[in-house]
């Protein structure tokens, strides 16, 4: 996305996370001071290796942390100017944030349409039927699948998970690794649709990805996490041209990647620490 990306601070943030710490089971400190801003209507991506704490960050926002004995012990999470830390997940959904969990967690013993209708669980209006058609417009191949969702292919299940989020008519979607386990062609298709949904529905997105290249081409701004902290952030363009990013996240094979910390060329940002 080459179009003029401004500095995040100058835009209205719909979500701001301020220096949060997250602890699991009252002892395991996983997030050690994370701050990030998501401007309204944009796609922001959160990158980083396995175990960095990306999913934990999303769960802290959506409240799903509670279902795993996790807790935000420090800092604040503000959504549209209100503090939302440690609230129940159903409360957060009602406020307009919907998380698509990692690993396409659809309800396998229900049909596609039943899954979609459940996405609209918190809604009471009459537009649900129209919205199912709208989702089928984004994902035409889902319309042909009349059996149980458990029999869908991985890509179709991911599409269903995203479609289900759209059904909630949220203001913001938290997407956790939508490309996981999908073929490169499917990844391209899914990301294209994510961008369309963002533009046409005006839904803000916080996108967690391991596929940094794809994510940065979709997002306007990116953060890179490492072991519970933000290691680097910048506009997508900046990150795509960043030497360290190129070497460690964008080159493809990232199996034997060392930490940023061990790099001379990497100057650690002091901004939030």
């Amino acid at each position: 996305m080459g179009d003029a990306v401004q500095n995040t601070e100058t835009r209205e943030s719909i979500l701001s996370i301020n220096n949060i710490e997250v602890v699991y089971d009252e002892v395991i400190l996983v997030l050690r001071g994370i701050s990030l801003e998501v401007p309204k209507g944009e796609i922001v991506t959160l990158l980083g290796p396995n175990g960095a704490g990306k999913s934990t960050t999303l769960k802290a926002v959506s409240g799903l942390l509670k279902t795993e004995d996790g807790e935000v012990t420090k800092g604040s999470i503000m959504f549209k100017g209100e503090a939302i830390s440690n609230r129940d997940p159903d409360d957060i959904v009602r406020r307009g944030i919907f998380q698509v969990m990692e690993g396409r967690r659809i309800i396998e013993d229900m049909t596609v349409v039943e899954n979609l209708r459940l996405g609209a669980y918190t809604r009471r209006d009459r537009g649900i039927r129209d919205d199912i058609d709208r989702v089928f417009n984004y994902f035409p191949r889902l319309k042909e699948r009349t059996g149980l969702a458990g029999y869908l292919s991985g890509g179709e299940q991911q599409m269903l998970a995203i479609g289900r989020a759209v059904m909630a008519r949220p203001e913001m979607i938290l997407l956790d690794e939508p490309s996981m386990g999908l073929s490169p062609l499917l990844v391209k298709e899914v990301f294209g649709i994510i961008r369309n949904i963002n533009q046409e529905q005006g839904i803000t997105m916080l996108l967690v990805e391991q596929n940094a290249n794809m994510a940065l081409h979709c997002a306007s701004y990116g953060y890179v996490m490492e072991s519970g902290k933000i290691a680097l952030d910048g506009t997508s363009e900046e990150l795509l041209n960043n030497e360290d990013m190129k070497e460690f996240y964008l080159s493809g094979g990232d199996k034997d990647r060392k930490s940023f910390k061990n790099l001379k060329s990497y100057k650690r940002r002091k901004r939030w620490m």
Binding site: F98, E108, M110, E114, L118, G119
Partner: protein, 297 residues
């Protein structure tokens, strides 16, 4: 061999079986959505039937007032029971929760005996004619009504789980609580709703049986019969509970038939389902329709 008696007993078995199926559905509803094994299911029938009896006989309300009031009472009863007793047990070991429901069962039996006494009491007659003749079979009108009520409940359950917002939410919660919560479903509400619906529908069954046999503590024995039914059908299968109910209903009547004709052991009616239970557990431990990953109890 007395064929007429055989046919009559099979028909009776099917009629009683649909009632077992309904009660088993109520049990499965709670097990599926809250993972609680409710040993107090039979007491729901008991309390429902006694409440309705009190409304009609003690307070002399007409049926069309007393009966709906009973259902409203049971709705509140189910919710209060869940919120006050079972919600604090969430996350406790399964055996502790089982102990709590066994305790509830004993408590309610004693409470009901204390309030209403130990004798069987009859409902005011609802039907003019005691029995009708269908294709040469004598069928009690009340039995016929129970069959109709059971079928309506089953169809109601089907539509509820297929189309209603709360029904879908219950299925989602049964599938995976975390996914359900990610969709904005309040698991607390689902749990309360499951207990409420289960209590209301069980009470309905209790009233129907009470009209046929009178109201007494024997009603809670249906709650014990539910175990062979759900273990045959599978602890977590609604369809299984209906099929299981019919099978157990017919089985106990057939056992009665063979016993009266040839064996003369006595009381086969009540014992046969439990023989069946043992055999099923040996050859098909997850029931006919159950899923594999549930704990046996």
């Amino acid at each position: 061999m007395n064929f007429e008696l055989l046919i009559q007993l099979i028909v009776n078995g099917l009629i009683v079986g649909t009632l077992y199926g309904v009660v088993a559905m109520c049990f499965v509803l709670i097990y599926k959505s809250t993972r609680v094994v409710n040993f107090a299911q039979g007491e729901f029938l008991l309390i429902g039937a006694w409440t309705c009896w009190a409304m009609l006989v003690k307070f002399e309300l007409p049926f069309y007032v007393g009966f709906p009031l009973t259902l409203v009472f049971m709705l509140v009863f189910g919710i209060v029971l869940q919120v006050v007793v079972l919600r604090p047990m969430i996350g406790e070991p399964i055996i502790s929760v089982i102990m709590v429901t066994i305790g509830l069962s004993m408590f309610f039996q004693a409470l009901v005996a204390w309030i209403f006494g130990g004798y069987t009491k009859a409902f005011p007659t609802v039907f003019e004619t005691a029995s009708v003749n269908i294709a040469g079979l004598q069928i009690e009108t009340a039995y016929l009504m129970s069959m109709v009520v059971s079928l309506v409940i089953m169809i109601g359950f089907y539509f509820f789980f297929k189309y209603s917002r709360m029904g879908l939410a219950m299925r989602a919660t049964a599938f995976n609580q975390q996914i359900a919560q990610s969709l904005g479903i309040s698991v607390k509400h689902v749990f309360a709703a499951a207990w409420a619906i289960s209590a209301v529908v069980s009470a309905l069954a209790g009233v129907v049986i009470g009209m046929v046999n009178g109201v007494s503590s024997a009603l809670s024995f249906i709650g014990i019969k539910v175990f062979p039914v759900v273990i045959l059908g599978g602890l977590d299968s609604i369809v299984g509970s209906i099929v299981g109910g019919l099978m157990i209903g017919v089985l106990e009547n057939l056992a009665e038939f063979f016993d009266s004709q040839w064996l003369h052991f006595g009381n086969m009616y009540n014992i046969a389902p439990f023989y069946a239970l043992v055999i099923i557990l040996m050859i098909k431990p997850y029931g006919l329709f159950g899923t594999k990953d549930i704990e046996r109890i």
